[in-house]
Subunit: 346 residues, 2 copies
DNA sequence: TTGAAAGCGCTAACAA
DNA sequence: TTGTTAGCGCTTTCAA
């Protein structure tokens, strides 16, 4: 590693024939510098290829221009789906536009939680974007205690209103509304025995989608609800269960596209035609899945990348948890709309 | 943001009744400190909840304990597959074990290249792990010029041996060997008209898999090769082409599982039974795809997470590009073995 | 509008 | 073995 000493403020100042302070002002866009000098400085910066030393800057400003993205418990099956990739893209775009660095923290298991907690509390980043999948995850608590501005991805599992204060800021899609729309679509198709395969019910998204399903139905036949876990295998299992329990069902709303893909396989295996005998609607609009199933899947789309962008935006605009001074007026959560994408399965 | 001033070395030193230097030594594991004092210091650290200020440390050590992960051109279709998620997991695990931070840099388009180049050259990280998908990507060049230790994910597209020096370090799976094994497996099944749907040929992985296909065959019928692009749609297109051009084919080796899934759909549509009429082998062993196709896909597995871990390991062990002093003796690239996973399609 | 100077919290000689 | 001290490169009062 050839250690070519990179130019410092000092060097730029010397070259431009001004003081370090002036260079600093120009570099940081302080308007109180005569244009003649500013120009000189800019030229010197260019010629020398000067890049500010972030460490030195942080040391005095106590800012880091970096935020942590914490993805908790990325079990293979969950993490490996395109969800986080897209969300990361959205986040990255927004952060990049503001010249903020993205520090990625992946955790699995208790030890990691502690490590992450220490890191976040350690004051190395200016804020955090947190994805916590499970209701009983201790990480959100740890993070809140760290007193760092934070925005959550997905509605957090704990009660939003605490001690009169605002809840934790989060971004989510309208799981409940989307589910409602899916079921209503099936009803519009004339289906009357509409089953639901849930997601993993220790995640708010699954709970909300189940609630949406219930919303849409006048009265719900419990026998038409089977528990899944967002995976194809879970979808298969639940579909078999449903078919045994309620052979007369004529539609299925699955909590995810992956779930639906499993359900479709079982339906095919059992000789039910889709959508003729049984109409199927998924959730997510994961293209790699929804477009590839047999038949292609009608599903509820959520704009995942946009959710990421929004999370980052909220954090940067100071909507992160630990506010300073003025109490936040806006609601804690931002919920993005979903839309139904019609393909062939319903 | 309540700015509770976090304790400094100074504070710990005062509390422990020693000098800052001693505290620093203890914190950094310098053995030359009497156990009595060390213990006192450790207690003070605990009581105060002291966490070293990384900025201050970097400023003097000129190290950052941070590594950049650069993912170039994450077009939706490519980035959204589980590949990077898994690789990131592997990388994250290795870095975490060494208490190194992961700074994620996603790029799309020229402007970003420049920005990334500037960031890497700016000396904010100690090294970089780079995923560049396309042969003509300018990013690798930019990065090498930045003079930062770097390990590439996937065999880089430029010639490995330059001016007698070692090539750029990289980690890849044995694309060529895996392809060879896939084709030989098909031959072992008695197939004689084995077609190949390539990946995007501006990526080395696709080129290497094509070479492997050619290796296995005594003489290759060009009519049995169709160009794909790693997507299902590409697989469909290529499969149609092949079926028209060589209706007598009895096997297909697809450059990826996604490609294979498209091919399977066309085969079904054309009434060819798999594997009876046409045997199909994919590449990647992406579970979400390979286990879900109809029939489940026989494919070549690569251990993606392990590749990530290895990349990080190489970088940390100083095998990154810009060496200091001793010339690296090991070969530039590390190639991980693949293995054939048999399911039902071949 | 500009410059001089005082640190930010830490490590690393060097002395003791 | 421990302490003293001199910066690392930057921002930010404060004076000029």
């Amino acid at each position: 590693m050839t250690e070519e000493p990179r130019p410092t403020l000092e060097a730029v100042a010397a070259r431009a024939g001004v003081s370090r302070a002036t260079v600093s002002r120009v570099v940081n866009g302080d308007p109180g510098v005569r244009e003649v000098l500013a120009e000189k400085v800019r030229r010197a910066v260019d010629e020398l290829g000067y890049v500010p030393n972030r460490a030195a800057r942080s040391l005095v400003t106590r800012r880091h221009d970096a935020v942590a993205v914490v993805i908790a418990e990325p079990e293979t099956r969950v993490f490996a789906d395109p969800f986080f990739a897209l969300q990361l893209r959205g986040i990255s775009k927004e952060l990049t536009a503001h010249d903020i660095q993205l520090v990625l923290l992946l955790t699995e298991g208790r030890d990691d939680h502690e490590r992450v907690g220490r890191y976040l509390a350690g004051g190395h980043v200016d804020g955090a974007l947190v994805f916590s999948l499970h209701l009983d995850d201790p990480l959100p608590g740890i993070i809140r205690r760290a007193g760092l501005p934070t925005v959550f991805g997905g509605r957090p599992g704990w009660p939003q209103i605490e001690e009169g204060g605002p809840g934790a800021p989060y971004v989510d899609c309208d799981n409940r509304g989307g589910a409602r729309e899916a079921v209503r679509h099936l009803m519009g198709l004339g289906r009357s025995r509409i089953a639901h395969i849930t997601g993993a019910l220790d995640q708010t998204s699954a709970v909300d989608r189940l609630d949406g399903y219930r919303d849409a139905l006048a009265d719900v036949d419990q026998g038409l609800i089977a528990e899944g876990d967002f995976t194809p295998a879970g979808g298969e299992r639940a579909m078999r269960e449903l078919l045994d329990r309620a052979p007369d069902l004529d539609a299925v709303f699955a909590a995810s596209d992956l779930t639906a893909s499993g359900a479709l396989r079982v339906l095919r295996e059992r000789g039910r035609r889709v959508p003729d005998d049984v109409a199927v609607v998924g959730f997510d609009d994961m293209l790699a899945v929804a477009e590839q199933t047999e038949p292609p899947l009608t599903t509820v789309r959520q704009d995942i990348e946009e959710m990421g962008r929004l999370m980052a935006g909220m954090l940067l605009r100071g909507r992160g948890g630990a506010e300073r001074g003025t109490e936040p007026v806006e609601p804690a959560g931002v919920v993005l709309p979903t839309s139904l994408v019609r393909r062939d399965s319903a």
